[in-house]
């Protein structure tokens, strides 16, 4: 059985990641110090969400097909909308949508959408293999916007980049999608980019995080943040 791996699996293992089952997939639980991670996540924490489901659709029929599947889409491009189950629908253009599976519990939406790819194709909504093609990190904490300012030319502070905003921009000279979501007091940014450059992006982010005392965190902390927010 060949299991999917995170594109930064080696880096995670080298950093002492403890893996476990989360939301139906194997991902990093913590890095061996859960208590410290909780504080770090409020200050500045970086989590690898690459093992979690995500899927994209593009084409003239993408909006209609996704809407017919019950996905609530933002009204305009470069916006994110959280679904009732916690998944996030991101409009990358008028004809392209990226759906991120929910973090808190096992995904059902992405799997359902992926299973319908053939139908979607007929409706001119072409599926895009974002699970394998894009890394998915989450940057959380009070210093997240300041940290991103070291890597990205877009102003990520409130109110310039409010919750629900999406920037398709350069992150450390890498094409990336940055999504601002609400998990309570600490801001959280989802970062997605070319999976082949995941090692580079992870290293660049950790480097930028140093001055803020940032560190990698596991999903346990993100789950806790999400619960608090609920």
């Amino acid at each position: 059985m060949v299991s999917p791996r995170s594109p930064i699996q080696n880096a995670l293992q080298a950093a002492g990641a403890v893996f476990g089952e989360h939301s139906g997939v194997t991902a990093v639980t913590d890095f061996g110090a859960p208590i410290g991670e909780a504080a770090a996540a409020r200050r500045l924490g970086l989590a690898d969400l690459s093992p979690l489901p995500r899927v994209g659709f593009r084409g003239p029929g993408a909006r209609d097909w996704l809407t017919a599947q019950g996905v609530e889409l933002p009204d305009e491009p470069n916006q994110a909308r959280t679904q009732t189950d916690g998944a996030i629908a991101i409009t990358r253009s008028w004809t392209e949508v990226l759906v991120l599976g929910r973090i808190q519990e096992a995904d059902s939406l992405c799997a359902r959408l992926a299973a319908g790819a053939a139908d979607a194709h007929c409706a001119r909504a072409y599926s895009l293999p974002r699970f394998d093609g894009m890394f998915w990190f989450a940057l959380t904490g009070a210093s997240a916007a300041d940290c991103l300012a070291k890597l990205c030319g877009v102003d990520m502070r409130e109110p310039a980049f409010p919750v629900g905003s999406v920037a398709q921009t350069s992150l450390a000279r890498l094409n990336a999608v940055i999504v601002h979501v609400d998990v309570g007091e600490a801001p959280l940014f989802h970062l997605l980019g070319d999976s082949a450059s995941a090692d580079y992006a992870w290293t660049s982010l950790l480097d930028a995080m140093q001055e803020f005392g940032g560190r990698p965190v596991g999903l346990r902390v993100l789950h806790a943040l999400a619960r608090e927010f609920k």
Partner: protein, 965 residues
């Protein structure tokens, strides 16, 4: 350490924290908060370095980080501004530009040969007789004092960050604070950038009324505004288009984006020009006041003050109140108006010499600093009597006027121009969304600066809200502020009246350059080097304009000014060269390759295994990998190949237009070679198109070409507007090429639900199915000329599948092979690599790819050009060659094909074939050399000529049987 002045003097030093450091090998003690220069001044040491050209003793004039005179050498860093760099415990400081030390600089002898070093001497000497420059260069480079780079230095961490704001206020003095507060009151997001460690500017060191609470009030007001962010010790070095500001702070370069900018950059105290005006101990009025109020340093025991305005009197009052004996206030104005400070000075009994100037400064007999001045009567513009009164002093304070610090504004497009016959530039106009206030905008009092700051802030706020047409904040110049005296430049028959202290440029040199015809101010600057030092003309431009205007009987306004360019102040290289971003792409198998001992090479942004094994066994490793593929089975990671999904009702039409072959007869489940040419008919990329479904094609592209190809395909689609979607899925799929006679058995052993028999999966078939439980796309293609399958699994499962293939293939002698072996293998098959065997002019017929052209198609990109090129006839052809002499040198790629001394082509690919046991290659040759059997001559390394025979391609398995089994 001398005793410091009592508080409140010394606001920046912490007297409880002494700091011991060394200067020129001598021990000194300062306080935390001192700069190197202030700590030395507190110890009576004014001389910091030697001048660039004549090695004259120099110190700081302004104590504001502007001049070359204050550049010192730290152990690991040259060119440090001693008057702004904080002193640290254990710091070892050396003077710069000396031979044998500051006190006994042997290079000071150069001063005796000054007459042989006239203006522009380096344009006139050192080049005759021919070759003499090589001799001079060593001496000049050794003599030029620009500090010493420590090559064993461990680089510090420098980086960059972006910052955004509604309004950036440059300068945190009175005007800047008022402007920031005014903007902040309007709710704007304000970034206040101050180069000093504290806000306040002149208010922190200038002479103010005892009850003046302006500074405290301003600071409190700004601090109370959460929308105002303050950056201290931050220097704006460039103001680029669209209000993009470069701001250096510590080891970070901030890239600031502001919707509007308010420049409150203040002014620069100007030197007066007279003989020996460069001696250490000659300082500006502002510098003397900084030393007193910031550092608690009594600047001298006995001072003379030279002034052209009321500021000098303020300095004299400050000095006297802090224990310095003021010998005289020398006022160049014949009949000075009774300014408030002048009145106070007169009332306190200071000796005032109106209509006088310092004609000459004299060096102290014991120390490298001023010892006295000769004061004489001013007899006319730029003229003074030869005889006068000698005054002993250890300090000369100069208040010759303040020039607006307009460098940044000028970069942004603001216009400055001296008014009337004055020499000081005045702000005339501002570009859109740019504002100015304070001294930079012509203010001469704190009250004016505050009012201008407030006004500029409100104007910027109105501008950004779009509620009103904002009028640039340029104050009308009060008539009273017009100069009543010409700029204090007093040429001396014996010279050494320096116009530019950075570059040792004197009045005579400016006059000589003008006499030689360098009359344009830009030419004058380049020829004489005036204004080209670290101060970038901030301390010399006005005097230069005044000298030039006098020489040309013109005005400073007519002389004009040189162009301001960023960076406006010396900037550490680390800020530019520090952390940059160089994205790297890894295949899913990157870690496996490294663990397996692969030597990695770059391919565009990708890392790829060149071969597996130590570098010293490179040739053997490559040969073994080649033989493994030919005799058993090999595995190569080709995840770097580009991959595009082309889907939609018009997918076929898109391919027909973009690629050269026709795909109309390509059935689902089949692949076809896909060649791409540009509009000039030049080969730009190739790959394989696999028809996955009726309106779904999966097209690969070369590793090097994929990144450029995707935008090109999108560009075509933007023009053609077909009903098709093009998706770059390069990173979503890994790609593994398994090749060799045993390839099929390995896959079957691993478990695959795709029939692999030649009938079920023939050569050029495309299949999808499960291999070891992983969903894969399987393309049966043969780049290396053996039975082979290109497997495209999801990236996240590629490593697992790779490892499974290695495990399953162990019994069959499987081994991984790298790019080098692949190059040999494909060369043996005569396959072209686009960009290695093609160049920016190669069209398909030159490389025998005419078969890949869909001639019956009505259109494909490049079709018409290719037809024209074909009609013209070939000027070269790519052929395969073999070197019959096995002892001959193996040509390298790039070696020339020659005939009768003429170049007829070049080698594009070359290798020793372990299978054929001879050197083979591809080369461009003249068309008449392309016949099979022709003998060509290759000029190999060290000029050796190698005979090679043109052979039929492919070199190996000419019937192509092995890849079809």
């Amino acid at each position: 350490m001398r005793e410091r002045l009592s508080p409140p003097a010394g606001s920046r030093i912490d007297r409880s924290r002494p700091v011991a450091f060394e200067f020129e090998g001598r021990a000194f003690t300062g306080y935390a908060g001192d700069t190197i220069a202030s700590a030395l001044a507190a110890n009576g040491a004014w001389c910091l370095s030697r001048s660039f050209k004549l090695h004259r003793p120099r110190g700081s004039f302004g104590f504001a980080g502007d001049e070359a005179g204050a550049l010192v050498q730290l152990e690991s860093e040259p060119n440090v501004q001693a008057d702004t760099r904080a002193v640290e415990p254990g710091l070892r400081v050396q003077a710069q530009n000396t031979v044998g030390g500051l006190e006994r600089d042997q290079a000071a002898l150069l001063g005796r040969f000054e007459r042989f070093l006239p203006v522009g001497f380096y344009y006139k000497a050192f080049y005759k007789p021919r070759g003499v420059w090589n001799w001079w260069e060593k001496i000049i480079r050794r003599t030029a004092g620009l500090g010493r780079v420590d090559r064993s230095w461990t680089p510090e961490y420098f980086d960059k960050a972006y910052a955004h704001c509604d309004v950036a206020v440059i300068g945190g003095g009175a005007a800047g604070l008022a402007a920031a507060a005014a903007c902040g009151d309007q709710g704007l997001d304000v970034l206040l950038i101050e180069r000093e460690p504290e806000l306040g500017g002149w208010l922190t060191y200038g002479r103010r009324k005892s009850a003046d609470r302006t500074l405290d009030d301003l600071r409190r007001r700004v601090q109370a505004l959460t929308s105002v962010r303050v950056m201290t010790s931050a220097t704006c070095t460039g103001w680029y288009a669209d209000n993009w500001l470069a701001v250096s702070q510590g080891n970070r370069l901030h890239k600031v984006r502001a919707r509007a900018v308010i420049a409150c950059t203040g002014g620069t105290s100007q030197p007066a020009v007279f003989r020996n005006n460069d001696l250490p101990g000659i300082v500006s009025a502002a510098a003397a006041q900084r030393l007193i109020r910031h550092y608690g340093v009594r600047p001298g025991l006995r001072a003379v003050v030279l002034t052209t305005g009321d500021e000098g009197y303020a300095a004299a009052l400050d000095l006297a109140e802090h224990g310095t004996d003021v010998a005289a206030v020398v006022d160049c104005r014949p009949d000075p108006p009774a300014g408030p400070m002048a009145s106070q000075a007169e009332a306190r009994g200071h000796r005032i010499l109106s209509g006088h100037t310092v004609r000459e400064a004299r060096r102290d007999s014991q120390r490298l600093q001023i010892g006295g001045v000769l004061v004489t009567r001013v007899t006319g513009p730029g003229a003074c009597a030869a005889d006068g009164e000698e005054l002993d002093c250890d300090l000369l304070v100069v208040a010759a006027g303040v020039a607006p610090a307009g460098g940044l504004l000028a970069q942004a497009g603001a216009k400055f121009r001296p008014s009337g016959r004055g020499a000081v530039p005045r702000l005339e106009s501002l570009p859109a969304h740019a504002y100015a206030a304070g001294v930079a905008a012509g203010a001469s009092t704190v009250e004016e600066a505050l009012a201008q700051g407030e006004q500029a802030g409100l104007a910027a706020a109105a501008d950004l809200s779009g509620s009103a047409a904002a009028a640039p904040a340029i104050a009308a110049r009060p008539a009273a502020a017009e100069p009543t005296v010409s700029w204090p430049v007093f040429p001396h028959p014996d010279g050494h009246e320096f116009v530019d202290l950075d570059e040792d440029v004197t009045v005579r040199e400016i006059e000589d350059a003008l006499a030689e015809g360098y009359e344009d101010i830009e030419l004058l600057k380049r020829y004489s080097t005036v204004g080209m030092g670290p101060s970038q003309g901030r301390l010399s431009a006005i005097a230069t304009a005044a000298v030039t205007a006098a020489a040309q009987d013109s005005t400073a306004a007519a002389v004009g000014a040189t162009t301001n360019r960023p960076p406006s102040v010396p900037t550490r290289f680390g800020l530019f060269a520090g952390r940059g971003f160089q994205p790297v792409r890894h295949t899913p198998m990157q870690g496996w390759h490294v663990d397996a001992g692969a030597q990695m090479m770059t391919a565009g942004l990708w890392m790829r295994p060149a071969y597996y094994g130590p570098p010293e066994k490179r040739a053997d490793a490559i040969a073994d990998e080649v033989l493994a593929v030919r005799r058993a089975v090999g595995l190569i990671d080709v995840s770097t190949l580009g991959g595009f999904e082309i889907r939609g009702p018009d997918a076929l039409e898109f391919l027909e237009r973009a690629y050269t072959p026709s795909f109309r007869r390509l059935r689902v489940g089949r692949t076809r070679y896909a060649l791409l040419t540009d509009e000039q008919g030049v080969v730009v990329d190739d790959g394989v198109a696999a028809r996955q479904g009726p309106d779904h094609y999966y097209v690969t592209a070369s590793t090097s070409g994929a990144e450029q190809l995707y935008p090109l395909l999108l560009w075509y689609q933007a023009q053609w507007q077909l009903d098709v979607d093009i998706a770059d899925v390069t990173s979503a799929y890994g790609a593994i090429n398994i090749a060799g006679p045993q390839a099929r058995r390995v896959l079957e052993k691993l478990g695959i639900d795709i029939g692999l028999s030649p009938e079920a999966c023939p050569y050029l078939a495309a299949r999808t199915g499960k291999l070891a439980g992983v969903d894969v796309r399987l393309l049966r293609i043969g780049f290396v000329g053996e039975l082979g399958y290109e497997i495209h699994p999801p990236a996240s499962q590629s490593l697992g599948l790779w490892q499974a293939l290695i495990d399953a293939g162990r019994d069959y002698g499987i081994r991984p092979f790298g790019v080098e072996a692949q190059r040999v293998l494909r060369l043996e098959k005569g396959h072209v690599i686009v960009t290695q065997d093609t160049d920016g002019l190669t069209h398909p017929h030159e490389v025998d790819l005419g078969w890949a052209l869909g001639r019956r198609k009505p259109f494909f990109v490049g079709k018409r050009s290719i037809e024209i090129l074909r009609e013209k006839g070939l000027s070269r052809r790519l052929v395969g060659y073999a070197v019959p002499d096995r002892r001959a040198a193996v040509p390298d790629e790039g070696h020339l094909v020659v005939r009768d001394g003429e170049i007829t082509g070049r080698v594009t690919s070359s290798a020793w074939s372990p299978v054929l046991d001879q050197a083979i290659g591809l080369a461009y040759v003249a068309p008449d050399q392309a016949e099979v059997g022709s003998v060509i001559t290759i000029k190999a390394a060290r000029g050796r000529l190698v005979e090679a025979e043109v052979v039929r391609l492919p070199f190996y398995d000419p019937e192509n049987l092995r890849q079809a089994i």
